[in-house]
Symmetry: C2
Subunit: 882 residues, 2 copies
């Protein structure tokens, strides 16, 4: 027969899926013989069955009655007993912690009869009726669906009548009246009398907790935290213990280490004669846990002993809830404690040092994404802030400055030592100088991988994108948020980690990479098999990436180099030429500049491979857009405005993402790639002569067919032939795989090349038929309404894009066992995606400089998970034991 | 040992791959004991080996010498013999006919000695030296690479000197001098004397023919005709026979049936005392073949006998070349004759009737694409025409009219009974009324599947797209082609079958669907297993499609219905509404109109399924673009110009193809799909009440994930629930598969739906990362330079897009065996793509109305090919016999 319920004696901490986190840990602690109030857990499976049919499964009642009987037996109490009534708490507990998202009912079992027994047993009528009215409130709200405020109104009214301020000032008589009023409210609202039968109360409460799995805030929380909706919640029925029965009672929360700094110091707070709620209410100030040592050394020592037992047992920092009832300590909950990034790193580091955890165990417990906090300045969490709008947290960190509305202004103001925030509808490559000059970037359009977002992350610069509430008027240089109008020069602060836009200046905290963090990174490097590279277009980014541990450049985009002031003119001249000769002449001017670019990057990356992508974007990106700029350029180029305007219009594309770009450009205008290849090889030659080990890897973008590769290889061969006496270094040729067709036909070209790099940004866009720049109009709706479970522009879509990648890897390796396969899309810095890349056997991931440590840790975690799986496959019983 | 050469006695007609078409047929005729001048064929394999190494393979010479000796033996002639010299022709002959593309050398073996023997033997010095000078010209040009004009110049000069007009007026002495001058030219140009050694002549000529496989015009021809470059050509060495030795000689060409009408009448022309060249030169008018009956009944009867032998043997209309040498008939070539579409259909029909061919054989010989000629008006091929530019043949047929530059003008002029050609940079849905009013459409941008092309084909209207030579100035209402400027109102003619733009008016021929054609279609229907449907958005198109044999509508796009005058306002009102209620109100006005649309289509398609696609295009397509129109709309909508302009700008997308469209629109604005579903079901209900069998199939566009289907199904269910008493008919729900992700995850959604329809237009674009509207900038370059072998927007790319389709079919059928899978992209009307669809087991293809007969025939051919393969698998020996 199916088992729906586990007593705390039956479960263990590995059963989180079935019993939820809370239930599994209560069972584990029971197994450790810690003082846990007795009870049992109704499984998540039962929840799912219930939610499907809106009724308990067959045979459930039988098992349930049995467990109740056992609980009554072991506690010596009885539901509804007029002498020794059993009171229980009913709490949700899902596999993953969802604090405050689902419902809880305390003091269940109270009714007009048992409240009297409670009065008798505690000799405290006020306590008994206070518990009773709290129970009716919770039950009324959670189970019967009565608005919480309606109970509060009655309470408030009574306090007003009595002229008192705090609930605690109500005496027992007041509370008795209040209970009556509450029951009348229940009758009025539901047309039924408040259920007095404890078992009925309990069944109703269980159903309510089950249903709370699908309340709006729970759904939202799961979405935000990537928790599947299909898990369901368990329900824990536990004997009540009370911390508010007198001065020999109390309640508290403790962390086994400092969750803020990670220091190995017992940390926590408690309140005497109180329930958990009182801490939250904030009426009384809790006492430091160390004070308990003086106040009640026996309890403190026992608690400290338990702290050690739990931390040694869980081998992780624990967050413990405890209650002292009449001098007896009860542990109500333990779980892995939430912690800051600093703390996470320090705890992992220390636990390895202390021998409490292996490196594998410790590394696995750090959330790689949290490391972001360590690598960017952040807002002082204690500072006050007025959030005026919220966009997408596109690039973490914080920034504060005066608003400007175009790149030129950003540049000029910055020259005048003003800190600025660049506010744009969206940015384009023409804005780079302004983005570089700004403290942070805010756009009203675009997503997490829009131009602004990608460039900002590359720069390690705070950025918020897609803030739809902002209406920008670039002519007036104002922006509107609701009724609020901000002018150029007004100060705002961006929190790139949350997407919050705050008015005025907020205090900042500097980033720091602690010794512990470096040590953790070293451990990660020892474990991981994936190589980590950096996406870097400049010597500066290369340097940062290398300092953060990158083992090469995975993507050096050459287009940004074309935008620099002295170059853009040559580029435009090249574009405006009507024949190959003219283009060659213009490109000749660019050649020495490109050589210098590459040489400096090779220098920074001495001894490490550098993948350089040949020109990728469509040519119109290099042309001015506004009439004024076209006018200016037409004068410079000595052509008529109309002629130039027409050329620019002819360059316009309906869907530039799917247009004349990538190797299509290089094949139709071979002189461009010829110049770039020559620049790469010349730079490598010069570097080599300076005793720098240059390892260039030439990358062909946007390949859809093997013939394109062959065509570009012809161009490369031509240059190589010309330079054959200068090639005193190794070089490789490879392609970016960013089109579904390239994945599907990888067997055809694998033998032609040395490496493949997945451009998962574009690959995701093509596979989904989704433009990052336009997706905002439906993507967030999809995410909010569970039509997408995650954002595929952030985390690789395993089922679609991932399947194509797998097909590609298999086809390519079949034909070329030695081929090196990596990824250089934005996903390279996303831990879940890094894990996927490890799983499908890629050789490397490449990401923006500030994401390199994240990728290093994520790669190590992926390897650790694989190791665990392998060990489990060898000796499956370890799984159960562990 | 490898065999490089086959004598005509060794080969047969099945060996076209190895011997080329000409060689295989010469061998076949030799086997039939027809009077073929003797010779042998050097294989295509030898050609490929030669081209690879630029030298003959080892052992070739030995075999070659042996064959020459045999030829000398059997003809009783000898190379270089001063009494009875062997003269041969050297002709290329590839697997597929490439008329005039490669080189030929006649009269080879002549030199200063053998020319005298020829004089002696023929008693005709003029003939001998004329043959010699022709040989030197051909050899000098083909083998030695001397410009043909240089020989012509000498000839011309001599004629001028002598004051004569025609070559024939030159006497023997003149020709002797000419031969000397030609030889001097050869010495001057090549610094070597003209090679006198016949075997050397022959080897050099063979090499030249091999190399001519890779001359520019041959490569171009193969590209245009989809012939692989990897085949190589064979070389035929054949004893010369002469039709110009006197009045008992002659030469001619005959077709076993009339190639223009298909009538079963011996058809051809001949010239007495002439060589093939003379017919081409056009100096003398050839005589009708029937005249030969009187002139030389013996030869005629023999020829007629051979005509019957060949047609019965080949079971196809033959194109025969013959020569009469001194009263003896020789057959120089036979091949399947080229024919008009009319003739192709009539011949196939008649041969079935005559029992000469099975239906399978006859159907397989009709080129489905040729049928287009029968279904559209076409230019009178005899008419004179001045082609001023060439674009893409986007929609076949011909059209003539006055140029207009915008849709409104087209509409107005048409109202005034003017025939117009609409000339646009590109068209948009706003132009539909103008396109409808125009005789033909010409655009300077866009490809074969651009908006203009797709709509025009749907309308069966002639269209040329992507004509880059045209510069349109829509303000001045002029267009420029080179220096030519055309004004509004100037007349041009379009040939949509070739892409030619012709100045002035050209005479037309009307389309006709003959009885034979209908019969052939019936046969095709009996054979094919693929269902054929039509893409139709209107009752009119539905009717045409059904008349052409469509078995349902495979794609009814609903967006065109939204553009009609009385509706576009409601659509715009809907778009401009800020909330669901407002949108619903606007949609309510559209509902009765949509009901009427669908009801009329159901009526036309009574008893046949109708797949209706829910709204697909992004909303901005429905909004006006020009400021003037925005101004007008803002007045109508009672909003400020600025407000409206801002809304329209906000609707703008960077990559609309990858934007907020398809079911993304329906999910974020559910009221749109609700209205459409209601309209479909209401229309089906009304039709049913009128005793019309409506079989609606609701299609969800642009699906990337199963969750989207579930979401739209919720919308549909809601409407169905509301209308449950009105659903007195069967209906289906399915999705369009046009995103790579949908292919890869088809197993997830196959169970949720009844049918899948591949939208291969978009699927191709996504898979290649290629926008049809923008691809012109590189696609033609790719095709011209063999970087693409075919245009994937016209013919399904089997390796990439096709692989994804196969994956989809397999995944979908695994989960839902009953699922109906079709295709509704433009590829549905392309025979090669139809064959692919048959091969991967689709249930149906759908195409534009005028393509339905093509698809029917192509589907039958695909089935026939499968049948043949199956039979061959059962009894492989049939293959050889057949």
């Amino acid at each position: 027969m199916h088992k729906y319920i586990y007593t705390f004696k039956e479960g263990n901490k590995e059963m989180k899926g079935l019993l939820g986190g809370k239930g599994a840990n209560l069972a584990e602690m029971t197994g450790l013989e810690l003082p846990v109030p007795q009870g049992f857990t109704i499984t998540t499976e039962t929840c799912l069955l219930y939610l499907n049919n809106q009724s308990f499964p067959d045979n459930f009642d039988q098992e349930f009655d049995q467990r109740i009987a056992e609980l009554e037996e072991s506690t010596g109490k009885k539901f509804g007993d007029f002498k020794n009534p059993l009171l229980v708490s009913v709490r949700s507990g899902a596999k993953f912690s969802m604090p405050g998202m689902m419902d809880t009912v305390l003091n269940l079992g109270l009714n007009d009869l048992t409240v009297k027994a409670l009065t008798e047993n505690t000799q405290n009528q006020r306590f008994a009726y206070d518990s009773y009215r709290r129970f009716i409130t919770m039950f009324g709200n959670v189970v019967l669906g009565i608005d919480h405020d309606k109970f509060e109104d009655i309470l408030h009214h009574m306090k007003e009548e009595k002229g008192i301020e705090f609930d605690t000032e109500l005496n027992a008589e007041d509370l008795i009246i209040l209970v009556d009023k509450y029951k009348k409210l229940v009758l009025d609202e539901t047309k039924i009398t408040f259920p007095e039968q404890p078992l009925l109360q309990l069944k109703l409460a269980i159903e309510a907790v089950f249903n709370s799995w699908n309340n709006e805030r729970a759904i939202y929380y799961r979405k935000m935290n990537g928790i599947p909706h299909s898990l369901g919640t368990a329900v824990n029925i536990q004997e009540m213990v009370f911390g508010n029965m007198g001065d020999d009672c109390g309640t508290g929360v403790a962390f086994t280490r400092n969750p803020s700094t990670g220091e190995n110091i017992f940390y926590g707070e408690y309140l005497t004669n109180a329930q958990g709620e009182d801490v939250v209410a904030g009426i009384r100030t809790p006492k430091d846990i160390n004070y308990l040592k003086q106040e009640n050394p026996k309890i403190y020592n026992r608690l400290y002993e338990i702290r050690n037992i739990l931390e040694n047992h869980y081998r992780d920092m624990q967050d413990i809830e405890f209650t002292i009832e009449k001098g007896k300590l009860f542990i109500l909950q333990t779980r892995n404690g939430k912690r800051t990034a600093h703390a996470a790193v320090k705890i992992a580091h220390d636990m390895i040092e202390e021998g409490l955890e292996t490196k594998e165990e410790a590394l696995l417990k750090i959330n790689p994404l949290q490391l972001t906090q360590l690598l960017h300045p952040s807002l002082d969490p204690k500072a006050k802030k007025e959030v005026i709008a919220k966009g997408l947290p596109a690039s973490p960190g914080a920034a504060c400055g005066k608003i400007v509305f175009n790149a030129d202004d950003a540049y000029e103001w910055n020259e005048n030592a003003e800190k600025v925030i660049l506010v744009r509808k969206e940015t384009s490559p023409e804005d780079i100088h302004g983005m570089n000059a700004a403290q942070g970037i805010l756009t009203s359009m675009g997503g997490m991988t829009s131009h602004a977002a990608v460039v900002a992350r590359g720069m390690g610069k705070c950025c918020i994108t897609g803030c739809k509430d902002i209406k920008i008027n670039k002519h007036d240089k104002t922006m509107k948020i609701g009724d609020l109008i901000l002018q150029e020069g007004d100060i705002i602060t961006l929190n790139g980690s949350t997407g919050e836009i705050i008015i005025g200046e907020v205090a900042m905290k500097d980033p720091e990479m602690t010794i512990e963090c470096q040590k953790i990174m070293e451990y990660a490097d020892q474990i991981r098999s994936l190589k980590i590279r950096v996406n870097a277009d400049t010597p500066h980014d290369s340097k940062i990436g290398r300092e953060f541990g990158a083992e090469g450049i995975g993507l050096c985009r050459t287009e940004h180099m074309f935008f620099q002031e002295e170059r853009i003119d040559c580029v435009r001249e090249m574009i405006l030429c009507k024949n190959s000769e003219g283009r060659k002449a213009a490109l000749k001017k660019l050649l020495p500049m490109q050589i210098k670019d590459f040489r400096e990057i090779f220098k920074e990356m001495d001894g490490l491979p550098v993948t350089i992508r040949l020109l990728d974007p469509p040519l119109h990106e290099f042309m001015p857009e506004s009439d004024a700029k076209i006018e200016k350029l037409s004068n410079e180029m000595d052509m008529s405005f109309d002629e130039l305007k027409e050329i620019i219009q002819n360059l316009h594309e309906v869907n530039p993402m799917l247009g004349h770009r990538g190797c299509r450009l290089g094949i139709t205008y071979p002189e461009i790639y010829e110049m770039q290849v020559e620049a790469i090889l010349k730079a490598a030659n010069e570097a080599t002569l300076q005793n720098i080990q240059a390892l260039p890897e030439i990358e062909v973008p946007l390949v859809s067919d093997v013939r394109e590769i062959r065509e570009v290889k012809k161009i490369i061969s031509k240059v190589v032939e010309k330079m054959k006496n200068e090639i005193n270094f190794e070089y490789k040729i490879g392609t970016m795989v960013e089109l579904p067709r390239a994945c599907i036909t990888a067997d055809q070209f694998a033998k032609e090349i040395d490496f493949i790099s997945f451009g998962t940004n574009d690959l995701t866009q093509m596979t989904y038929g989704l433009s990052r720049d336009d997706a905002g109009k439906f993507l967030f709706y999809y995410l909010d309404n569970n039509i997408m479970e995650f954002n595929p522009t952030e985390t690789i879509d395993r089922e679609g894009v991932g399947s194509l990648m797998k097909i590609c890897v298999n086809l390519a390796r079949k034909e070329n066992k030695e081929i090196d396969i990596g990824i250089c899309g934005e996903h390279g810095g996303d831990p879940a995606s890094v894990e996927f890349c490890h799983e499908i056997g890629l050789n490397s991931v490449s990401c923006s400089p500030y994401r390199v440590p994240i990728a290093r840790l994520a790669a190590a975690q992926a390897q650790i998970k694989e190791n665990i799986k392998k060990r489990e496959a060898v000796s499956p019983e370890r799984n159960i034991k562990n």
